[in-house]
C-alpha cells in the first residue's frame, strides 16, 4: 500500500465465521477472520478492528465500507450492504478472471454462482434452509465423532472405502454415523462417506447452474481438501486454486471491498 491509495473495506458476516478485508492499491492489505457471535454488530466491529490493526491504519482512513453475508444488515458502520452472491462473484473474478463458476461452501448455505466474462452474475443456485451440503453439517458430524474438522481432513486421506451415508438430513445422518461407529466401521471410511454425502449434494447445485469451467471453490469448507477432492471426483474436473496467500474464506469480504472501491 502506498501513501494516498484509496482504502476500502469489506465485512462479511457469515453464520459461523465473520471476515473483514482491507483493500487498497488493487490488493488485499490485511484481513481478519473470527467466529460469529449472537451479535452481528459486535462481531463486525471486532473483525474490522482486527483487520485495521493488522494493516496499521485508522478507521478514518477507510473511505468506503461494504457489508455482506448473512448479517450484513447489522454492519451498522457500513456505507452500503450488498448480497454475498455479488460479492463472491466479484472477489473470485478479481483473483481469477478466467473463473466462470464459483462454488461457495459456507457454514449455513452453499452457493453455485455462474459468472460471465465481465464478472457479472449470470445465474446462481443456493442450498439454504437445510444444513446438508454445508459446513454446519460437517461441524455437526465432527462433534458426533468427537473429532476436530482438522482431524477429519487428515483421516480422509487414510486408507478406507467410503461408508454409505444415505441420509441427506443432518439429524438422521448423525444416527447413521453413530450406528456405523457401533458397527466398528473405521473412521476414515465414515469420514470419506460423510464427505461424499456433502460433495454429492453440492455437485447437484454446480450442475444446475451450468458447470462452466474454470471452477473455483471458496468459503470455509474449501479448506477441507477431503471434500474438495471428492467433489472434483464426482464432477470429473479439476478446480482452479486461489493464489497462495488468499484464504478461501475471505473471497466474499474481498468482493465487498472491491465493490466499495469501485463506488467510492
Amino acid at each position: 500500500m502506498r501513501n494516498g491509495d484509496k482504502i476500502t473495506a469489506g465485512i462479511d458476516i457469515g453464520s459461523s465465521t465473520s471476515k473483514a478485508v482491507i483493500f487498497a492499491g488493487g490488493e488485499v492489505v490485511s484481513y481478519s477472520i473470527g467466529p460469529s457471535s449472537v451479535s452481528p454488530t459486535k462481531t463486525a466491529r471486532l473483525v474490522f478492528q482486527r483487520a485495521l490493526s493488522s494493516a496499521g491504519i485508522d478507521r478514518e482512513q477507510v473511505t468506503y465500507v461494504v457489508g455482506t453475508g448473512y448479517g450484513r444488515a447489522k454492519v451498522e458502520f457500513a456505507d452500503e450492504n450488498v448480497s454475498e452472491i455479488s460479492c463472491h462473484a466479484k472477489g473470485a473474478h478479481h483473483l481469477l478472471p478466467e473463473v466462470r463458476t464459483v462454488v461457495d461452501i459456507g457454514g449455513q448455505d452453499t452457493k453455485a454462482i455462474s459468472i460471465n466474462k465481465s464478472g457479472l452474475v449470470a445465474d446462481f443456485v443456493m442450498n439454504d434452509k437445510c444444513a446438508a451440503g454445508t459446513g454446519r453439517f460437517l461441524d455437526f458430524m465432527a462433534r458426533s465423532m468427537e473429532l476436530d474438522i482438522k482431524d477429519m481432513v487428515s483421516l480422509h486421506f487414510e486408507e478406507g472405502v467410503p461408508a454409505m451415508i444415505s441420509s441427506m438430513c443432518s439429524v438422521f445422518a448423525e444416527s447413521e454415523v453413530i450406528n456405523l461407529i457401533n458397527e466398528e466401521v473405521p473412521l476414515p471410511s465414515i469420514i470419506k462417506g460423510l464427505h461424499k454425502s456433502v460433495a454429492n449434494r453440492i455437485s447437484t447445485l454446480v450442475r444446475r447452474v451450468g458447470m462452466q469451467q474454470e471452477i473455483v471453490v471458496t468459503g470455509g469448507v474449501a479448506k477441507n481438501s477431503g471434500v474438495v477432492e471428492t467433489l472434483e471426483q464426482i464432477l470429473k474436473c479439476k478446480f482452479v486454486t486461489l493464489p497462495g496467500i488468499v484464504d478461501p474464506q475471505i473471497v466474499g469480504a474481498l468482493g465487498a471491498a472491491i465493490i466499495g472501491f469501485d463506488k467510492s
Binding site: V82, S83, I85, S86, L120, V121, A122, D123, F124
Partner: protein
Amino acid sequence: MTVLGKERAIELETIHAGVSKMMERHMGDPDSRAFNAFLLAAKMATEGIIAALDNGTSVISYNLGGMPELLLALGENENEIFPFAMEKVVALQSLVGDPMYNMEAIDMAEAQGMSSDVCSTDRATLGNLTKRFLPEASCSVFVTAPCDSQTAMAESLKEITGEDVFLIDIPHHHGEREINYVAGQLKEEIEFLEEKSGKKLNWDRLKEICQESNRMIDQALDWLEWRKAIPCPQTAKMLSTMYILLQDGSGSKGATWVASEFAADAKERVQAGKSAVPGGEKIRAIWFGSPPWYNISFYDWMENELGMVVPVDMFSYVVPEMYVDTSTTETLLHDLARKQIYMPMGRHFTGAPEYFVDDLVRAAADYKADCALIAGHVSCKHAWGVLGLLKEALREADIPALAFEFDLFDPRVTTIETLQQEFKRFAEDIVLPRIGK
C-alpha cells in the same frame, strides 16, 4: 346478502363481503380502473353462484381447463343452464375472500386421501365439494388440461358426487389432426350434455355466444398490445385474472366489458405516459407459471420495492388461435376445439415442451423483457419437468431467469417473505447489474 336457508353459503358470503369491501376501497382510485372492472366481475360471479344456489337453476360444472360456450348454448333461451367453473370459488376465495378457507379445504381433501401431489386448486375444490357448499350439478364436463391433476379430480368428483363426468382428452400435439380429434369429442360431449340436461344445443345461440367470445379476444389482444409499451402502463396484478375471464366468462357480455376496460385503461395510461410503477420501472419481467394468488399484493411489492413490472404472464397470454370462425357448425366446433387447445396454461402445460418454451422466449422478445420469472407452482410437475429445457433456451436467448418454488393457493409452502428475499437477490445480483441500473 343472505342466502335462503343455506348454511353452506357462509364461504360464498365471505367472498361477497371481501370483494364488496375491496370495491369500496378501490372505487375512487383513478389508477385502479382496470382492477375495479375485475372486482365487479368477481362480485357478479359470486352473486351468480349464490343465485344459482337460491333459485335452484340447473347447473353443469366444468373444470379448470374448460370453457363455457357450449354450456351457455344449451336450451332454447338464455340462462337455462348455469355453467359452473368449479375452481373459480377457490380463486375468488384467495383473491377477494379469505385464503384460510382454502387451506382448510386443502387439508380436508388430503384427509380424504387425495394426494398432496395433486394441484392445490383441485384439492381445495375437492374440499369444497366435501363441505357441500358448491352448487350441485346434473353432470360435469372435464378436459385433461391444463394438467394431470384434472384426471384425478374428475375421478374424485364422480366418487364424491356420483355425477356423470364427460372427459375430453387433450392431445400431446396442437396441429390440425389433433384439433379435429378434439372437435370429434366435442360432438360427443354435445350428445352427452343434451341427454343429461334434457336441453338441446341451440346452434344459433352458440354462434352468437362465440361472436361475443371473439369480441373478448379482440379486447384481450388489444390490451396485450398496449401492455407492450415502455413503461408498462398497468400493474401486474390484473394479468392473471384474464384467465378467470376466459375460463368463466367467455361468451358473456360482462366479461367482454371487463376485457374492454382492461384495454381502455391501458390505452389511456400509455397515452398519458403513466407507468405501473410510480417511481419508474427498472426491470421488465415475464412471469411464466401460476400467479401468487395466495397473496396477490406480492405484485405491488415487486413494483414498489424492485421497480419490476410484468407486461405479460402465462395466464394472460391470449393468442389469435383463440378466435372462433362462426360461419358453419363445422367451423364452430373446429375452432372451439382449437380454442380449447390454445387456452393459456393448457397449451403450455399439456403436450410437447416446445409450446411452453417457445411461448416464453417469444413473450420475452415481444415484450422486451430483461428477465424471466419461472413460477414453479409445486404441483406443476410438467412445468418442473421442462425446467432444464426452459433454462437452456433462455440462456441461448441471453435472458436471465429465476425459477422459484411456491404454491399458488397455499401460503404454507413458501412464505411471501421468502419469495421477496429470492426476488430481491435475483434483481440485485443478476438483473440490475446486467442492465446497468
